[in-house]
Assembly symmetry: D2
Homo-oligomer: 358 residues x 4
């Protein structure tokens, strides 16, 4: 038995723990394990694979990033190529990819990735590849599972950052706007905002308006709280913004960026208070994983090997109802898990008086 | 409506977040909230209660310990008293406790506690008190729930400590024995041991023998790993130890302590290698809660208020199947949640080659 | 004896430890202690002072920010006032300030602050106020001392952030530009860049050019290091930039900002590599002080009281040659401490191959 | 030019940063660098050296321990050997050691170590070896320098541990005794005790008596502080203990251990309060170095290469008066740096009301 491991998309704390567990568990069964170097894009190069040995995965559980790299990631179904006239286009090179796996005797692939990676995995499965997926994204927005690899670490980093910003905001009596990751879903903003006692939390699932926020700031002033901490997901939407057409996000990626500064400036104008903003950005991706992330990553990695051993292919290993389970990858492709508007966590925020901008 | 909050037993990171959320959520409904000062033992003093206000619970989410204190904890059904001959005995003063609640107009009690606290709560309920419980223990051994308040922080502290001890153990080529909490259940040892890449994990649920551990150490030596990290729960049991009689723990508390030194010495004798040991002890109870613990504690606190509002009394607020749920307190009293021998986490440890002493 | 404490300018980790030590040391001598609420600007309000008691300073050593606040800071010699035509101008209200101190029976003032605060202190001294200064700034650029209160914590925060960014930069094979504080002096950039193994460090003291940096990036590529970490102080200057006229900084504050994005974009254009940038900003001001900062802050606070007791006024308490010493405040006003170009730390960076952009 | 690096004695955070800086700085001069594997004891084996390359020292700045290992450390002047009758004795094998260096063409040795290592270095120098020393010990007790490599990290670890223990001690109203390292000197206890707001600090330099401590506890009780944090250096001495004869420590190592439990029990008996104790032990040696330690370690490593280049041999690279300086190794052998009784830091402790047991 020979298996390959791929880490697709942006990196997340915990990837290395999953690689380590899958590698060790497979080697103990006498299997061979290789990693895809830097993502699917390398399949079209001379040396797409790195042999994974006990020595190679030693001590990596507490390292951020991925030892496999993720710089040359690509979608085998949409690989860029240069046309005769010099312009670029995309072509389907998935058959080649399948052939590379076949030529190297790969029996199964473990695909660590998010939404995009699972879409690709789904299409590779349809072409005959045997895949077991592991849900990885700091955004926690993969359908069908409680939690994804990387999310707890990102929340921890964001929480600690907001803790730091709170003392300085209070000393200076400022409005502090902290932008965290979350294009479509507000998980990081909601969890870190609650944990760090933010006063306002703005998430894509709840359209915000400035009047509501200003009212919150003014209430706080009356109670002698001359500072306000606002946590905003990068994809948060002001009421009336025209970002959605018929339920589909339109051009959001292009529109993102600068939300923190926009909000800080507008609130300063409306309240007369000083404001500052900060974008936590890539900080949330990096660093030593939390112990929680290390553990679920190890469990995901080992569970993937068990699924392959039982020939239960084309499944995503998930934590669902607090148990490791397997669900069809086809079930999660093209879906996204938003913060439920009637969920307990959002309700908790409302119960304790956090403003959601609505 | 007037409610009281009690924090019983040992402190745990997250208690203050739960107190804060319950207080804020209740105050926003126009209720009155008081905390029991230092535990049930204070009910028999002149001043058992502390009024809880927004100012009192401000900024406490990130503080360890409990602002209510837990120094005078006691069991109303077994309060110590001094007899005429000067010796001490226990007496049932539960009726007095009920009366104190009644006299102060307390409509409901939120009891944060572990196994012991839930037993007491169950008996107070039978006497007519209305109680909503919140599961608190760093040991994570409360029946009927995925996870308890305080556990994630304790695992985080233990994991970081083992990380630190690993580099020094490796530099000195030593056996390092790290004792963590867990009298009856090995949750902290298993989770922190996995997260911190321990080589051997000894938990109460799996009896260990030294030959197995020595074999692991010798295998490591052969592969050039001249050090070994052993994480042991304080309640771990050597095979053949006579600590259980007919399935019941006998005198364990008395027998505990010094396990780390015993194991370190014996392994040093058996292998000829240098060994060191350390007891993490109260470090695991203290400090700023992890963001995970802050969040579930806030959710527990707010959910308790919702239960009271709906008059759904005598329930324990739990995280079960990754959802906030309510189960009868009577269901959990006198039970304990052990690490399941066929569970996925223990299997993960075996899959990646961790020695469990068996 | 009655003393007042002022925290001027931006907050820094350690302020509260200094306030605590000064308060406790003074109270033990039977003195009275008050803090100026939010800075000198409050001297012109009805309630400029907060009484400082053991209860008030309890447990604050590990809190970031300043319990006194610094929101209404102002320069008594240049207080803004509104003219009849509605426009604003500045006026000298220093005599009023002196009178407030006199009317409240303040015998001496402890002024915690940076460059600007020491200039003000110097002028207040000339008007007869008795002042002892404590050097506070995360930038570490106060003349005449080894280190300032807040610097070690800022370096620690920046170092940990760069650690986090390194794993993600490496996984994605990116250029990562990290902007840290330091308008005039590159202390934070140099110390955190060295500690976190940055590849390029750009500081105001050394003008940089892009060709040098690109050469470094290309050398790294050749050695298989497909990522590069660049730490840039906000005041770093590209060779040829016209920011200095006759040795004086001109309009630098206005020109600052966006340096990180500019550098990231330009390097991406020049090398064809992906780049990302991040501004650490206020993160560096906040949070629990490092143990080093807690200790020197306590020592500064206690030493200030000893200076007052000995009537050795108008001195700045400094750590100089690793000893607590006192130097005239007049010696440091209008000066700034830059990173010495022939110093050992900069030489260390060169010795181990870090590119300084020159 | 060919140089060797040795890490002697117990490991300390920062060793790897010093190894990295020395290696990179030497390689950039075209020199050859090797490390002694596991200490001088390996000189008598077939393979005493590890070649040090850029790849070998990559990314090690933030790793605890020493990549060279320190398990086989030994004193070439007192190497153990087994006599004919089976018993063990010591013999001088220093000439062999010198020959090994000579045979391998080692021009100079960088010796990272503490008191003991410098004694050995001094004697090797007398035999003709060229040595540059770097002061390494978490205890900070090397004569002639402000601070040693490893100390700041140990203080940081101890401070964070005491922070954690404080919240639980306060919640339970307990006396908490925390034993930190420091056999002869109380630096860690004094610095971490101050930083973490301990109430009592016991160091070897100040003999303590229980009556003084009990008085402090009782004063605290009166002021409503029902808990007390006591930080004790492992070498702290009760007044009247017979551990010194004519100024020389006698058998201290044997007498050490258990001080924390002894103190906790005795104070509990004397005050009637609950007490707990904890020994931080090897935690203080381990883990990622603080940014301060990383920086001075890098500076020490680079400075050692500069000293060798200038042929300024047999010197210890020190931080003295906050500057990197060189002092003769012969000056520090057989000396120890105690906490000065009239120093500013000890005075700060007294000024703010910390009890020193006297």
């Amino acid at each position: 038995m020979k298996i390959a491991i791929n880490t697709g998309g942006g990196d997340a704390p915990g990837l290395n723990a999953a690689i380590r567990a899958a590698t060790l568990a497979a080697l103990r069964k006498g299997w061979e394990v290789v990693g895809i170097k830097n993502g699917y894009g390398s399949l079209y190069t001379d040396s797409p694979f790195i042999p994974l040995t006990p020595e190679k995965v030693r001590g990596i559980t507490l390292q951020g990033g991925t030892i496999l790299g993720t710089a040359n990631r690509g979608n085998p179904f949409e690989m860029p190529y240069q046309k005769n006239d010099g312009s670029w286009d995309l072509e389907d090179r998935s058959d080649e990819a399948i052939k590379v796996f076949h030529d190297h005797g790969i029996d199964a692939l473990i695909a660590l990735g998010g939404d995009g990676s699972m879409k690709i995995a789904h299409k590779l499965i349809e072409k005959g590849l045997k895949i077991v997926g592991i849900p990885k994204t700091i955004d926690n927005d993969i359908w069908g599972c409680d939690i994804t690899l990387g999310f707890d670490s990102a929340v921890t980093t964001a929480t600690e950052a907001i803790d730091k910003l709170t003392t300085t905001a209070e000393s200076h009596q400022r409005i502090m706007v902290v932008e965290v990751m979350g294009r479509y879903a507000g998980w990081i903003a909601l969890h870190s905002g609650l944990s760090a006692s933010a006063d306002v939390i703005l998430i894509p699932e709840v359209e915000y308006n400035f009047d509501s926020i200003v009212k919150k700031i003014e209430e706080r002033e009356k109670r002698g709280r001359h500072y306000t901490i606002i946590v905003v997901a990068e994809g948060a939407i002001e009421k009336g913004e025209d970002r959605f057409i018929k339920g589909k996000v339109v051009g959001q990626a292009e529109q993102l960026g600068g939300a923190d500064e926009h909000i800080a400036k507008k609130l300063s104008d409306m309240t007369g208070k000083e404001s500052r903003s900060i974008v936590l950005g890539h900080l949330q991706r990096g660093g030593t994983p939390s112990s929680y992330d290390r553990l679920i990553s190890l469990r995901f990695g080992a569970a993937a090997i068990r699924a392959i051993e039982e020939n239960d292919m084309n499944k995503l290993i998930v934590m669902l109802d607090n148990k490791i389970q397997r669900i069809p990858i086809s079930d999660v492709a093209d879906k996204i898990k938003l913060v439920p508007l009637d969920g307990d966590t959002l309700q908790t925020a409302r119960d304790i008086g956090i403003n959601l901008g609505d």
